[in-house]
């Protein structure tokens, strides 16, 4: 019998954003933080993920240095439309497809004087999260939010200064949190970062002060409503990929958000089941949460 031919090439890792299983495997290797980012379409979710990576291209960010990544191709893809190589005349970001499974971007980072930590940033369409506010059953699918140590909720700054969208932005944000808490998609003790995005648009508006004030009121309302359930609730203002750098610099505020992500103590996990049919970390987490609730 002829022996099977030796493959002529060795396949290397694809470097794209990770699916749930691959993220779970990597998560076992070292201390990690998982970040779920929630926001309506065009709130700047992908720009924020790309912005963290792109700031590291220039050196450490807030004392945190790059130590490696399994998703360099994924990062490069989402950065492209803000880079000069795209030949665009303004930064642009593709939307994440609605209905697709969430994926994870991965960075290994080393804070000054600390150990290397793995950061996993979940990516899912904003439409899917918005739909959960109207249909709690859909929130059960958000495994990246259930496993998150820090959930990051984006508020579109461009909408906060728009007379047409302002009230909707102010209403939708707490409603999404309410829905995720109600559906227990957000774990007890999870930390929450509420982020006003597109600060360049806010500052360019005559309504900047009002938008900042209303944003802080919104954050306070979420804190008050979920005190005792959520962990720390932080507020941040960022311009991850501004269209103009007259009033802000590229990546403004992203360093503080990154520090919050890494400093947050892991949200408490339930006690592991003695026997599980699955060895996947994400599945263990899911079943444990079921037990905990």
């Amino acid at each position: 019998m002829a022996s099977p031919a030796m493959p002529t090439v060795l396949n290397l890792s694809l470097g794209d954003a990770l699916d749930r299983e691959d993220a779970s495997l990597l998560q076992c290797r070292r201390i990690s933080r998982t970040i779920g980012i929630i926001g309506p379409n065009d709130a700047g979710k992908t720009s924020l993920v790309a912005g963290v990576y792109d700031l590291l291209q220039g050196g450490p960010v807030a004392g945190v240095g790059f130590a490696g990544s399994s998703t360099l191709i994924g990062f490069e893809k989402i950065c492209h439309d803000a880079r000069a190589a795209s030949r665009r005349d303004a930064p642009h970001t593709e939307r994440t497809s609605a209905g697709a499974e969430a994926t994870f971007f991965h960075l290994d980072l080393r804070p000054t004087g600390g150990e290397v930590m793995s950061l996993f940033i979940g990516d899912r369409s904003g439409e899917d999260y918005l739909a959960a506010a109207d249909d709690l059953a859909r929130a059960g699918d958000f495994f990246e939010i259930r496993r998150a140590d820090v959930v990051t909720l984006l508020v579109n700054g461009e909408h906060m200064v728009s007379s047409e969208h302002r009230h909707e932005a102010k209403s939708a944000t707490p409603q999404i949190v309410d829905a995720l808490v109600e559906a227990r998609a957000l774990r007890r003790g999870s930390h929450l970062a509420i982020v006003l995005t597109k600060e360049d648009c806010v500052l360019a508006s005559a309504n900047a002060d009002r938008a900042h004030r209303e944003f802080e009121e919104l954050v306070e309302a979420v804190r008050d409503n979920h005190v005792g359930y959520l962990g720390e609730v932080g507020s941040f203002i960022v311009a991850a990929s501004p269209r103009d750098v007259t009033l802000v610099k590229r990546g403004e505020g992203v360093d503080q958000l990154l520090s919050f992500w890494l400093a947050a103590a892991p949200a408490p996990r339930a006690v592991l089941r003695q026997k599980s049919e699955s060895s996947r970390m994400i599945d263990l987490l899911d079943t444990n949460e079921d037990l905990a609730e």
């Binding site: 002529t8 090439v9 060795l10 291209q57 790059f66 130590a67 490696g68 950065c79 000069a84 795209s86």
Partner: protein, 286 residues
Amino acid sequence: MSGDPDISIIGLPESGKTTLLAAIWHMVREAGSVTALKFDGLSQGNYEHVSALAKRWRAGKRQQRTQTSGMKVVSMRLRTAQGRSVEVSFPDMPGEDFSGMWEKREVDQAMVETLEAKAIVLIVNGDTIKFPAWIVEQMAIAKGAGIDPAEVDLVDWSPHLAPTQVQVVELLQFLMTGDLFVGPRRLAVLISAWDEVEGDGLDPEEVLATKLPLLDQYLRNGRDPWTWRVWGVSAQGGVYEDQDKGEQLEATAALRDLDRPSDRIKVVEGKTVSTDITLPLEWLIG
């Protein structure tokens, strides 16, 4: 060859891998040259390829691009200052094989064994580093200069557009994961075309930190077990002529006027400058 140190030279296309080999081969055999590693006699093997490389190098002619099919292994027996004789082999691999690892996410099986060497030379051409550049910052500069953006076709994403430092970090990560993982390794980072870089007044570590900050962070933060050092290397000393184009350059003629070809070489570590191109190899052999 089993048990002898193997050193793999890796780098993206046009990084200077072949020129480095030519300069090493010339220098260890040049009469009167002072080097940390010395030529220790011919052994069994075919030296036609490396001799041809050294001949072009001495004549001040640019090396032809390494053939993209087939890999040539250059082996040489060298003697350390302690009198130890070591046979060192350098696979001469085309840069396209390395850019293919980034772009196609695969590597030819024939290259796998050579990529398992415990000592690696990574060459990055300091004069052709592709930096990340952002639209918003370019537009601000154009606006400040009163230049309106031109109408141009948009460019879709392609892996070859990635900054040099991203591609190089991925190459090193490949060598520390999966089937290519062989445990801790030594890494000599050589920033080539140093004669073009040194005008900035930075030493090699400073160049690494300022021109390749992602690579600098990756190495310094030590997630992967590299023991590494960085050198600036000018293996030519200046511009060489392109024989295919019939070039005849005054700058090359000036290099040829030096008494010894090895005087063209510059090897910089920290503030120390030398012509001894074997210093990184001596450190790699340990």
